[in-house]
Subunit: 210 residues, 3 copies
């Protein structure tokens, strides 16, 4: 059913998995987990969003379990975090930027994979968003904290933007390396700008935190 | 495969989604989340139970991602909670009653949808129960607390009752607006009576809390 | 599609469910949950790993909802924990051993069921591992603690060992009662030895906990 360039999708997917696995692995190191715990949390973070997406679109078995490339990217990301968490921690801001890129990659790949499986445009874009934020939600739930996507101002919206742009390109027959990267860049840029500027969304009236 | 009145199912499903989204949104406001966090938690609460049910019965893509009505109900519930949490908080007891109605709605809709997909009566009733309690479990896990269904005395049992009654009506060919509402009412009533009377179930012998 | 002896699979699966349900029920009793909460946590622990596996291999509806034997095993395990948590608590070390056996049972059953559904050897082994550790992850997330599989040194590795041995036997046409039990024993033995000897895996360099 897949009509999109498999190579493009595979490369973007593996990059997103690697980046998210690093972010999950860093959380694991900071929780004091041992090497297997770090690898498990990295794998759950890197592969979790795509796993949920694949169940929802009927891609059986999920790529997370079936693709040596993705499994290798997840383990590699976990080992990078395990071995290099000290230098990585020194460039915390860059980690946030990498995470923004991962968010964009997963949103675009996830939306286009859903469209490839015959899902309509609107739910395909939503599935792209779920792919993008899902791994981080799983990471945070396993690590015992409220998911970043609930706490941080502008996180799901950039994912939805990237996913919607990717679906638009897909539906107009213009999806390719250039438009895919443009959609990733749009999502990542919005996320990074929101992060750097500390954009705050509204809080509920009457909570004293508006 | 669906043989049940789609309109009846859709109306009950949207009502349940709205009610549960409000309950999730209220939890989000109390956690100090911003508007996007509140909406995300509301959507996860309103749509989560049905999402799991649809994966389990092979309804691909899940209605939670494919139905504008459900998505609209989830967002509306979240915005209601965000804007009106103060007046809603003044009528806390009514929120518990609304939640009981949502529990009954989801249990009935979920059980009948499972039966429509060819699931046998006993697992269909269990899936109705899972639909009813699933959203709340997801809400509480995301919000970092032990799920209400584990802590509160009589919560899953009313859902199972409503689901079992709905399956009974379905299997005897008497499922329709009247029997659906009767099953919802039975579940909601049992939940509300248990809540108002503070019914306690047994605790384990020897824990000093019997 | 199932080519393996259904009786052997069913017996091993029910045993694993029972053992894991006891472990979930014990956690529930210690959390002060009432009888319904204990049963719900026991059922989620005993049935959760297989539920996720069945979604991932397209076994619809999942056996967790469709098999009276598994449902009965889960409820029985929960009631055993509820009624007998005091004597069970006196033999804590035996509980850890039972859990190791459950881990091996689920890993083997899960891997072979995945292979029966046409999943390739490597992802089938991974699915066996997921079946083995999944129930415990769900138990710990619901109970509000970081999953044991992330914190304990050697937990996922024994599951992967048992699953890989089972897939090896399956692919070579030698899977049967003897090889199934050997794979379960290998997984359980590795887990038990790691537990008794307190084997520690490496922690990340520079965390002061190496």
């Amino acid at each position: 059913m897949v009509v999109t360039s498999p190579l493009l999708q595979a490369v973007l997917d593996a990059l997103g998995t690697l980046v998210f696995a690093v972010s999950g692995g860093i959380v694991g190191v900071r929780k004091g987990l041992d090497v297997f715990g770090v690898l498990a949390l990295a794998a759950a973070t890197g592969l979790g969003g795509g796993f949920v997406r694949d169940l929802a679109i009927g891609a059986i078995p999920p790529a997370a379990l079936d693709s040596l490339l993705l499994l290798g990217a997840a383990v590699t990301g976990g080992m990078l975090a395990f071995l290099l968490h000290v230098p990585i921690g020194r460039v915390e801001r860059w980690v946030g930027m990498l995470d923004a890129v991962g968010l964009g990659l997963f949103a675009v790949v996830g939306a286009v994979k859903a469209a490839d499986f015959g899902i309509d445009p609107a739910p395909a874009a939503l599935l792209g968003m779920v792919s993008g934020v899902g791994g981080g939600v799983i990471r945070d739930v396993l690590a015992g904290r409220v998911p970043v996507v609930l706490r941080q101002e502008i996180y799901a919206i950039p994912a939805l933007l990237g996913a919607a742009l990717a679906v638009l390109a897909y539906e107009t027959g213009t999806y390719g390396t250039a438009t895919a990267l443009a959609a990733v860049a749009a999502a990542a840029t919005l996320r990074i700008v929101a992060m750097l500027r500390g954009w705050n969304a509204w809080r509920a009236p009457g909570t004293g935190r508006t």
